[in-house]
């Protein structure tokens, strides 16, 4: 049991899975000698050598496309895309191939792939280093999409992702890479993909979030002094609707919080499902506290863009009063 940051927890999960299974290998830009621009792969190149921790050419489609081939031919590649803003060049390989090979071949060829991607805003970074594209991939059948909000979940979910027989996009909220530490068991354990976590229980309102926003929710809930149940999705696709439904049937009110733009963000899917499943239990319209429908601004204004405790708090007050 050690007290680790999210970066350290991921690093530990990678080490343990690579020790355990020599089909597991890492590839990406600067993941080798440099240990990744966030140092997530620190020490792995030295420990496992250049064949298993590979610095690739600067080409995201190449990184994912070759990873698909590696996976189809028996390995367990873990490609890293340096920032979510650079998933774009790999979008085609992810959506037309990684997501489709199993069903296209009726199971003959599969793509057990874990794509690691730092995600989200709040770190004062340049353009295209602060976006939240999870809904894009949640709209792509064949993929699983994961985003931990704590070091413990990060390690457990990453191990599940690596062992998953299907392609998983593993989003790492960079704003909390080192924001806090948590007890993380040294021994191996898994957190199942597809199961949300009740962060705290409550009776009045259900709040649903994921990634770095979960902390903003915590702050808002504490300030509000109300009895609010906070659900950390942990997995975006497939969505754990049972946990959400049970909570909303109890509270009758729901607020969803995410960094991505509101329109067609994943909050829209959750809100629709809640209405579909809990229509007669709803006492107020489900509220979405999200990024605005604009491009993520450069860092001088990024905190104005991201949902914070103040905006969340207002939504809490409003839905409670409705």
């Amino acid at each position: 049991m050690a007290n680790l940051t999210l970066v350290q927890a991921i690093n530990l999960a990678l080490i343990q899975e690579m020790e355990k299974d020599d089909r597991v290998m890492l590839l990406g830009e600067d993941v080798g000698a440099n240990g990744g621009v966030f140092r997530v792969t620190e020490g792995l190149h030295k420990r496992f050598g250049g064949d298993r921790v590979v610095d690739t050419p600067l080409a995201e489609s190449g990184i994912i496309g070759t990873s698909i081939g590696l996976a189809m031919n028996g390995l367990r590649p873990i490609p890293e895309i340096q920032f979510e803003g650079f998933l774009g060049p790999a979008y085609d390989q992810i959506t037309t191939h990684a997501a489709r090979f199993r069903t296209r071949t009726r199971g003959a060829l599969t793509v057990p792939l874990t794509i690691r991607v730092p995600v989200g805003g709040g770190i004062h970074a340049p353009e295209l280093h602060s976006d939240s594209p999870e809904a894009i991939y949640a709209h792509t059948p064949g993929l699983k999409v994961v985003m931990p909000a704590s070091p413990y979940d990060a390690k457990g979910l990453l191990i599940s992702a690596i062992r998953d027989p299907d392609p998983v996009i593993f989003f790492e909220p960079k704003r909390i890479y080192r924001a806090f530490r948590e007890e993380v068991p040294e021994d191996e354990y898994t957190v199942p993909i597809g199961e949300a976590r009740i962060v705290r229980e409550g009776e009045e309102i259900t709040m649903i979030s994921w990634g770095a926003s979960v902390i903003q929710c915590m702050n808002a809930i504490e300030e509000s002094g109300r009895s609010i149940e906070l659900v950390d999705l942990r997995t975006i696709a497939p969505l754990d609707m049972d946990t959400i439904e049970a909570s909303v049937r109890k509270t009758g009110r729901a607020v969803i919080v995410h960094e991505a733009p509101k329109t067609c963000g994943f909050g829209a899917e959750i809100a629709s499902r809640i209405m579909e499943r809990c229509f007669l239990h709803l006492e107020a319209p489900v509220q979405r506290v999200a990024g605005f429908d604009t491009v993520m601004p450069y860092y001088k204004l990024e905190l104005e863009y991201l949902p914070d405790a103040e905006r969340i708090g207002k939504a809490i007050a409003e839905i409670a009063a409705y």
Partner: protein, 379 residues
């Protein structure tokens, strides 16, 4: 010296059996035995006949869009012949001949074009990937597949096929660049057939050769007469050797021609001249081999007649197998989405519905639903 050469190079063009029957003994001797050339010719004839039949099937509504391979048989077949069964062929959609040689049953290709995913359910032990529809994307898979072989330390390689147009896609560049810089044993086999649907090769590559694309990566590259199966076998053997022993990729440009339309949805007369097609008919790889065999008393009309019977039988048997397959079911497109099916997907599959009241009729209990037709919710 203020101006000094930083780089110099030459690219070879290789030809062994030319369109007039000329044969280069030095390069060609012993390359393909008399028995094998006959077998290869017979194999090509099957593919040629398949095109005819498939075309008719499409026209009579028994198959969807189909791309004829006619005229390009020697390219993928020569490559497949030069490789091992344990090597991987990562193809586009104009390589029937090589895929069949490598072990893919004919009906798989038919099923694919009949709109049936079971045509992609490659049998165990056949190292081919399914036909690739998105142009240029499959070379990256070939590079990854070959990389995995190298990672495991076996000496199997991959050979990926693509057209002249495909070399315009960024994915081609990234695949070749990965292979060259990371020393991956893959062969990039370009079938330059002069056209990308209606767009001539010069719009895809205005350089004197497409082969020189490989120079950008410091890759060995060569241009070959793609309608000359001997020359194709020669260059692919050399490339395979280079890959197996040194993990070095090779770029092969095979000059060939699509004698038919791009697909059954296309009408090539809209954009190309009849005499161009004429010129290439004379270079038909089958005619060339037939002449080669005849000159050596390996072939005559009676054998040709016997073959065409055999060919007809083989193709119609394949068509029969493809058409007699049980119709696919609704559930089929759910069942291979994931190794284990997520809850929402299971519900959609079970109820055939995405709408919540259709998925959970219990929400309607008490109220009486009058459906527009006789079928129930789960029909």
């Amino acid at each position: 010296m203020p101006v000094k050469p930083a780089f110099e190079t030459t690219i070879d063009h290789v030809s062994i059996l030319d369109e007039n029957g000329g044969f280069d003994e030095k390069l060609g001797k012993g390359l393909i035995s008399d028995n094998d050339i006959v077998t290869l010719y017979e194999h090509m004839s099957v593919c040629r006949h398949l095109d005819e039949v498939a075309f008719k099937l499409q026209r009579s509504g028994r198959m969807g869009t189909y791309p004829e391979n006619r005229g390009q048989e020697a390219t993928s077949l020569g490559a497949a012949y030069a490789l091992r069964k344990t090597d991987w062929l990562v193809s586009c959609y104009r390589e029937n001949c090589g895929l069949f040689w490598h072990g893919l049953p004919i009906e798989y290709v038919l099923l694919h074009w009949m709109g049936d995913e079971r045509g992609n359910k490659i049998p165990d032990g056949v190292n081919v990937t399914p036909l690739a529809i998105p142009i240029g994307t499959q070379m990256l898979h070939a590079t990854g597949i070959a990389w995995a072989n190298k990672y495991r330390g076996d000496d199997n390689i991959a050979c990926t096929f693509f057209g002249d147009g495909a070399t315009s896609e960024g994915d081609f560049h990234e695949a070749a660049n990965f292979a060259a810089n990371l020393d991956i044993p893959v062969i990039f086999f370009c079938q330059n057939n002069g056209w990308a649907i209606s767009v001539p090769t010069k719009i895809q590559c205005s350089a004197p050769t497409i082969a020189q694309r490989g120079i950008a990566y410091g890759m060995d590259c060569v241009q070959v007469d793609g309608n000359d199966i001997f020359a194709v076998v020669r260059v692919v053997r050399d490339a395979a050797e280079r890959a197996r022993t040194h993990n070095r990729p090779t770029f092969v440009e095979a000059l060939t021609y699509r004698l038919g339309d791009h697909t059954t949805a296309d009408d090539a007369r809209r954009y190309r001249d009849a005499d161009e097609v004429e010129k290439w008919h004379k270079r038909d790889p089958l005619i060339r081999i037939r002449k080669y065999m005849a000159d050596r008393n390996l072939w005559d009309d009676s054998r040709e007649d016997a073959l065409s019977e055999k060919t007809k039988a083989e193709v119609s048997a394949a068509v029969k197998r493809a058409e007699e397959i049980v119709a696919p079911e609704f559930a089929d497109f759910f069942d291979s989405m994931y190794a284990s099916m997520p809850a929402e997907l299971r519900t959609q599959r079970g109820t055939r519905r995405t709408s919540s009241l259709g998925q959970d009729p219990s929400q309607l209990d008490g109220s009486n639903v009058s459906y527009p037709n006789t079928q129930g919710v789960n029909a």
